[in-house]
Symmetry: C2
Subunit: 135 residues, 2 copies
DNA sequence: GCATAAATGCGAACTGGTCGCAATCGCAAA
DNA sequence: TTTGCGATTGCGACCAGTTCGCATTTATGC
C-alpha cells in the first residue's frame, strides 16, 4: 500500500483521498470487482467520488502495473491487484466462473510461442465453456 | 443456404428478405464481420433494413446454431457461419489478429476437462498477448 | 385469398465507459 | 508555512454497441 503510493509519487502522481480509498478496497478485496462495485465501496469511505474518477484511477494504477483488468464474459470488466490476476473459465449455461491456475496454460503457451511466435496472456479474457454440472 | 432457410421454417421462422440477404452475405464473407459491417452489406441489397433487425436476425440464427459470434478484444462482436468459427489471438500492442487452429487447444481442452470437468469453447473470446513482431 | 403469428422499422433506452472543462487540491520548493 | 503549478476531481454530456416496446407489415399454412 505505502509502496504503491510511493510508486505513484515517483511517477509524478499524487496520493489523493479517492486513490487511497480505491487502493485500500483493492487490498481488502478477495476477488475481482467491477468498476461499479469499486465505486460504491469507495463512496462509502469518501462520498462524492464520481465514477469517472474511479475509472481514471483504475487506468492510472493499471498503467503503473498495480492493477489488472479482466473481461469476464459479457458484462463489465473486473479489476484485481496484478499479483492476484489469474485466468477464468465461465460456464455459458449457468454463468458459474472458475479460477484457472496458470499451470494449465503452460502447454498452450509454449506451443503457441513455438508455432506462431505469439506470447499469450490468458488472464485478460475469460474462456467460455460448459461446466461439469451443466454438461 | 436453402438448408438454412428450411431449418428456419422448421422452427416456425420465416424466410424474409432481410434474413435472406444476411445469410447471403455471411455465406459470401470470408472472415468475421461486425454487426455494423453486416448491416451495411445487407442494406446495399435491401435498403431500409434497420440495425435492430440485423441484430435480431443474428440472434435467431445463432440460436439455430447457424452463426456464431466472437468477441475480438475491445470493440464490437464479430459473426461467422458456425462451421468456420475458430479461435483468435490478438496482439495487445499492435492489435494484429491471428487465427488459431483448434489443434492448438487440444491439450488445454483435455487437461481442463480432466481436472475440472469443464469443457472449453476457445472460440468465443479472443486471447490477448504479444505477437512476434512486437516482442 | 385470408387469418395470424412472425418479423420489421422506428426511435427511445440502456450499459459500460470516455471526455472536456472549470474548480480544487497535493506537494515541493522557497 | 505559504505559494505556485500541475495533477486530479466532479460534473454532465457524450459515445459505442446493443436491446426493447410498439404499431405496422408480411410470409405462410390453410
Amino acid at each position: 500500500m505505502d509502496q504503491v503510493l510511493a510508486l505513484v509519487r515517483e511517477q509524478g502522481g499524487r496520493a489523493t483521498a479517492s486513490r487511497r480509498a480505491l487502493l485500500e478496497i483493492l487490498f481488502d478485496a478477495d476477488g475481482h470487482m467491477s468498476a461499479e462495485d469499486l465505486a460504491t465501496a469507495v463512496q462509502s469511505r469518501v462520498p462524492e467520488v464520481h465514477m469517472s474518477t474511479v475509472y481514471r484511477n483504475l487506468d492510472d494504477l493499471e498503467e503503473l502495473g498495480v492493477v489488472t483488468h479482466t473481461h469476464m464474459g459479457h458484462g463489465p470488466s473486473t479489476y484485481v491487484l496484478s499479483p492476484y490476476a489469474h485466468a477464468h473459465f465461465i460456464c455459458k449455461q449457468c454463468g458459474a466462473t472458475f479460477e484457472a491456475p496458470d499451470a494449465l496454460f503452460a502447454g498452450l503457451s509454449r506451443s503457441v510461442r513455438a508455432k506462431m511466435g505469439f506470447t499469450i496472456d490468458p488472464h485478460h479474457f475469460a474462456i467460455l465453456g460448459t461446466c461439469a454440472a451443466c454438461s
